[in-house]
């Protein structure tokens, strides 16, 4: 099997570490060699956070090389763009459209680009981009905090991961506090569904 490299990018507090841990645990459960990189400490305090999850027999390093990501999961639009160096024309970018405004923008020292601009720039690097309203779907699942799991669901639907959906559900059951398990499983399904539906929609459009 060739390596599978996933880059998860977002903001401290969005549950990126948990999402990466769910993926890593699921991979380990199925017997794959896996590495997950994490960032702790100062960087976590509302700053830009990136986690890499890598699966494969020849994987040693915890981080992906530039241009080598199979999927970039952007939990926040500009954070996907910040990490777009890991993408190539083979890469899928899953983009949560819910923006979180950085302090530099609130204070007027920097500007937040429009979603159109962000997507245009992402297209310079990545082969495929899928936008997802994860906040809306997370609310449908029960709480806006489940956006990370919605994005995981979409990631599973890309079929780029070697693990089964059921194994990922089991990892959620183990790693998420019991009272949030049901909500997260629902969020996972909603995320999974949106990508599948958008694929079908795209096919319909092509047919026309």
């Amino acid at each position: 099997m060739s390596n599978c490299n996933v880059v998860l990018a977002g903001v401290g507090g969005q549950g990126i570490l948990l999402a990466a841990n769910v993926l890593g645990s699921a991979a380990a459960k199925e017997g794959f060699n896996v590495r997950v990189s994490e960032i702790h400490g100062m960087a976590q305090r509302g700053g830009a956070v990136v986690c890499h999850m890598r699966i494969g027999d020849r994987v040693h390093a915890p981080t992906t090389m530039e241009g080598e990501a199979d999927v970039i999961v952007g939990l926040e639009p500009v954070e996907a763009l910040r990490n777009i160096k890991f993408a190539s024309s083979q890469t899928w970018v899953l983009l949560n459209i819910e923006a979180i405004i950085p302090s530099t923008v609130s204070l007027g020292t920097a500007a937040y680009p429009s979603l159109q601009t962000i997507m245009k720039m992402i297209r310079l690097f990545a082969g495929k981009i899928v936008t997802i309203d994860a906040a809306d779907l997370a609310r449908k699942a029960g709480s806006v905090i489940a956006q990370n799991t919605v994005m995981l669901g979409a990631l599973v639907a890309t079929k780029k991961l070697p693990m089964r959906l059921e194994t990922i559900k089991n990892a959620i059951r183990e790693l998420v506090p019991p009272k949030y398990v049901k909500m997260n499983l629902e969020a996972l399904e909603l995320g999974y569904g949106v990508l599948r539906n958008s694929d079908e929609k795209r096919r319909d459009e092509l047919d026309k």
Binding site: V36, H40, G41, P62, G67, P102
Partner: protein
């Protein structure tokens, strides 16, 4: 994040996904360690935190010591009595502990003693990126360097065995990318910790007066001759790949990048992986070098391996070309390595063309990077430090000099608060403030956290009092060690063994140090806090103001646990759009949309400080509560 149950109950032979630090904790349980000590610090924290979670059930003793030197001394005391002991800390913690560490090599141990230093290349969460492998060289103790979680677990037992064989402490060096990488770890059997030892008196060995130290220094050098043999024979110093081209020598996290870069470029190379990097396996390295014309040393930070390899090469194989950080300078001496950096270096050395893709990506990225707004870490919404800094800044009219310290509150340097003119190391806020106040006219305000106060600020405070420095020390007491994951400290009333202890109050300590003006105030009560600070600044000689309010993360998780609602603020029609709440206070829960101040209800903790500082009383309690 792996449950503590897994660490203790995971069956031998089973495979689990563990963080490097959690793997070390499992290694501790498999090595029968009886005493574990620490002072928290990224990237080391989860080692001791994981132990703390299981210590009572596992039957070992664990403590959060006041600081790193106390941690090392406590663990060493147990090891002197024949109990296996481990002290873990971040790299700069070993500076604090160095006085004990270096002489402990003379004294030695009876039970195994491992000191973990977690280095932080690229300073992800640190004030410097020093390479602590040099401490092994300086103190003359063995050094082990795991490169992944599995090895990190195994090397705990290995280091304990070496330590007992030589009766020497062992230095165990990880880096951020080993400590904070998750990987599969196969468990071994647990070993019942030995908690009780006996102290066999031996003055010549344990009492380092000059006459004894001279003798023990020689004994240490003899021990390290024996350590050389261990290193030569160590299974952790092994050739993992045989090729006919260049020879690559690497260790730790750097090894992972090296092998992937070799694969990526399809370079014909042999690889010698070093897991025990002091003393150096000299003969093994000579033999490896004899087979190659070119040797490439792939390591992070300092040319530590390289200098030793060069010294060996000069004596045995002077014709071999050596590439690393010095002379040919293929690798940087700062920051962390990456597969990409090693790919670029190896391509140059091997005369291979670089895959063009990387350059193309770089060029394209320079076009987009300007459009990406920076997102530095910030104080959390509801953080009491923000209120404290607002008070300090307002009262001093931003004209004082502010020396700050190590902790979340270092983020106070960010706009709009910008409190922090000097930051050096744990406790330096008060020390540097003494010197600054002696030679300038402006007010000097030193800012220190509660855990840091106990760790390192007390000698500085005594100095300020006794030598009469006109310094105001503001203790930001959020009742926890927040930055590193909310560990207990002597002011919290909790211990690493989950027992209760009598709290030591910072105000009592300050008064005992003869500080005349000591006040405790809640920074959320803005007016009262301002009045108190004003008074403190007016006193002659040092004053101590303790701003006490629990960490916002603790408060919200407590509320969630109890099922209490967090009530966000709302902006009323009185808002004139003056934006003091954003431009002077800077809470991340407040933002501007369509030219109006808005509240991010998911972030707001309802601390009400923005309401207190709003000049138009336009912020009120009770925003919407849906979700």
């Amino acid at each position: 994040m792996v449950s503590s149950k897994v660490l203790l109950e995971g069956a031998s032979g089973k495979r689990f996904l563990l963080l490097g630090n959690e793997a070390i904790a499992r290694g501790v349980l498999e090595a029968g360690v009886g005493v574990v000590t620490t002072y928290p610090g990224t990237p080391a924290s989860e080692i001791a935190d994981s132990i703390s979670a299981v210590a009572p059930d596992a039957g070992l003793y664990m403590e959060y010591s006041t600081n790193e030197i106390v941690a090392i001394e406590t663990a060493a005391g147990a090891a002197m009595c024949g109990v296996r002991a481990l002290a873990s800390m971040k790299h700069v913690g070993l500076n604090v502990a160095a006085d004990a560490f270096i002489t402990l090599a003379y004294v030695g141990v009876r039970g195994g003693f491992t000191i973990i230093t977690a280095d932080d290349p690229y300073c992800y969460s640190s004030q410097n990126e020093q390479d602590n492998r040099y401490y092994a060289l300086l103190a003359n103790v063995p050094c082990l360097e795991p490169s992944n979680p599995q090895e990190a677990k195994e090397m705990v037992s290995y280091s304990m065995n070496i330590s007992e064989k030589l009766e020497l402490p062992c230095l165990f060096r990880t880096t951020t990318r080993v400590s904070h990488t998750r990987g599969p770890v196969v468990f071994g059997p647990l070993k019942q910790p030995k908690l009780k030892g006996n102290f066999v008196k031996d003055v010549k060995r344990f009492v380092m007066v000059p006459a004894h130290a001279r003798i023990q220094h020689k004994a240490l050098l003899e021990k390290m001759e024996r350590a050389k043999k261990i290193s030569e024979e160590s299974l952790y110093n092994k050739i993992v790949r045989n090729g006919s081209g260049m020879g690559v020598i690497s260790s730790g996290a750097a090894y992972n990048y090296a092998v992937e870069a070799i694969d990526f470029l399809d370079v014909d190379a042999s690889v010698l992986k070093l897991g025990m990097t002091f003393p150096f396996p000299e003969q093994k390295i000579v033999k490896f070098m004899e087979k190659h014309d070119q040797i490439v040393i792939v390591e992070e930070l300092e040319p530590y391996l390289e200098m030793q390899v060069r010294a060996i090469a000069k004596n045995y194989v002077p014709h071999v070309k050596i590439h690393g950080k010095t002379i040919t300078k293929y690798f940087p001496r700062f920051g962390e390595l990456s597969t990409r950096l090693v790919v670029e270096a190896l391509a140059k050395i091997a005369g291979k063309a670089l895959p063009v893709a990387i350059k193309e990506i770089d060029e394209k990225y320079t076009q987009v990077s300007e459009s990406v707004p920076p997102r530095p870490p910030v104080l959390c919404p509801g953080c009491p430090h923000r209120a404290s800094f607002y008070v300090i800044k307002t009262v001093t009219k931003n004209r004082a000099i502010y020396s700050t310290d190590i902790g979340c509150y270092a983020l106070g340097i960010q706009p709009p608060l910008r409190i922090g003119d000097t930051l050096v190391c744990m406790g330096a806020s008060i020390g540097t403030a003494c010197g600054i106040s002696k030679v300038i006219e402006e007010d000097v305000v030193a800012v220190v956290g509660d855990s840091t106060f106990f760790h390192a600020a007390i000698p500085g405070l005594i100095n300020a009092v006794y030598n009469n420095h006109k310094v105001t020390l503001v203790v930001l007491d959020n009742l926890t060690t927040a930055m590193t994951g909310h560990q207990p400290h002597p002011g919290t009333g909790k211990t690493g063994m989950k027992t209760r202890a009598r709290k030591i109050l910072i105000e009592d300590v300050a008064r005992a140090c003869n500080v005349k003006y000591v006040k405790v105030v809640d920074p959320f009560k803005i007016k009262e806090a301002m009045k108190t600070l004003k008074e403190g600044l007016k006193t002659r000689g040092p004053s101590v103001i303790i701003f006490r309010q629990p960490c916002a993360l603790l408060v919200s998780s407590e509320k969630r646990r109890k099922g209490e609602k967090i009530v966000p603020v709302k902006i009323s029609e009185k808002c004139t759009n003056c934006r003091v709440c954003i431009e002077a206070f800077g809470c991340p829960a407040l933002y501007v949309e369509n030219d109006r101040v808005m509240v991010n209800e998911a972030l707001c903790t309802g601390c009400m400080v923005c309401a207190a500082i709003c000049p138009y009383d336009a912020i009120e309690a009770g925003g919407s509560l849906d979700e």
